[in-house]
Amino acid sequence: MIVERIVSETKDQFPIGMRVLAVDDDPTCLLLLETLLRRCQYHVTTTSLAVTALKMLRENKNRFDLVISDVHMPDMDGFKLLELVGLEMDLPVIMLSANGDTKLVMKGITHGACDYLLKPVRIEELKNIWQHVVRRKKFDRKDQNNSDSQNKPHAGSGEAAGIGMLITV
């Protein structure tokens, strides 16, 4: 499990090298996001297509620690991607949008986003996103040990998100 590896091997280094998959169909936004993430010393993979992102994740879900994706994409609704990633891979997903409408943010939360960031994203916000990886893994482990809190995977993610959610407006 990733947390074990993080704790035992890279305790001193994490979140340096945290593996992020960044998805945005807008090339300007994607270039900026990639540069910001690299400045945070994360390991970044980018794609402008949600279907490509899904393909990469399905090929090997252990290749990434976190996904950060735009909401508004032509080939697939960002919320759809969010749902699928949550269901199939149980990876933390951060939504990104130029639209801070409460309804949309709410939609992000209910679809399982662990954070919802407004564009243009600031580096200060990205510097903290690693917390979602650690938080989620810890919560998942507690879940396995505690038979009472049998949350549906989706609701579970929602709750984990609820605990530590930063809605940056």
Binding site: D26, T28, T35, L36, A98, I123
Partner: protein
């Protein structure tokens, strides 16, 4: 006091872009990402922006030629254009985008067309000013990197 005349000119141009509201704080964020490893980052992003957003402008233009207006589609294009524009700190362009989207939401076709004309003007002006700015920047040589607040 900046001794190099080109650098002084550059600083004057830069200050004017901010003072006149063409650029906002986001542009400074871009400058802070520019370093020895990425020495032309700002120009790169801005160039990419103008190249890519030209496509969106064209889409909107074409959509405005089809009556009745598909406000959802127009809003969609402008949403993306706004996101892109805000990424480089294009303050005035962003403001026009917001206005355009409000007209889309209220189904005001006249408002959309008027705002779009204004937006294109601001966009063209910004492009010219930034092209001139980068031209001087290239001649002035590498600037000291902005101090990043810890």
């Amino acid at each position: 006091m900046e001794r190099n005349p080109m650098r002084r000119q550059l600083q004057v141009m830069r200050k004017s872009l901010f003072d006149q509201g063409y650029l906002d704080e986001q542009f400074v964020q871009l400058e802070e990402l520019q370093d020895d490893a990425n020495p032309n980052f700002v120009e790169e992003v801005v160039t990419l922006y103008f190249r890519d957003s030209a496509r969106l402008i064209l889409n909107i233009e074409q959509a405005l030629e089809r009556k009745p207006f598909d406000f959802n589609k127009l809003d969609g294009y402008m949403h993306q254009f706004k996101g892109s524009s805000s990424s480089i700190g294009a303050k005035r362009v962003k403001a026009e985008s917001t206005l355009f989207r409000e007209y889309c939401k209220s189904g005001n076709g006249e408002g959309c067309m008027r705002t779009f004309q204004q937006l294109k003007k601001e966009y063209a002006t910004l492009r010219k000013k930034l092209e001139a700015y980068f031209q001087v920047a290239r001649q002035a040589g590498p600037m000291e990197t902005a101090c990043r607040p810890k």
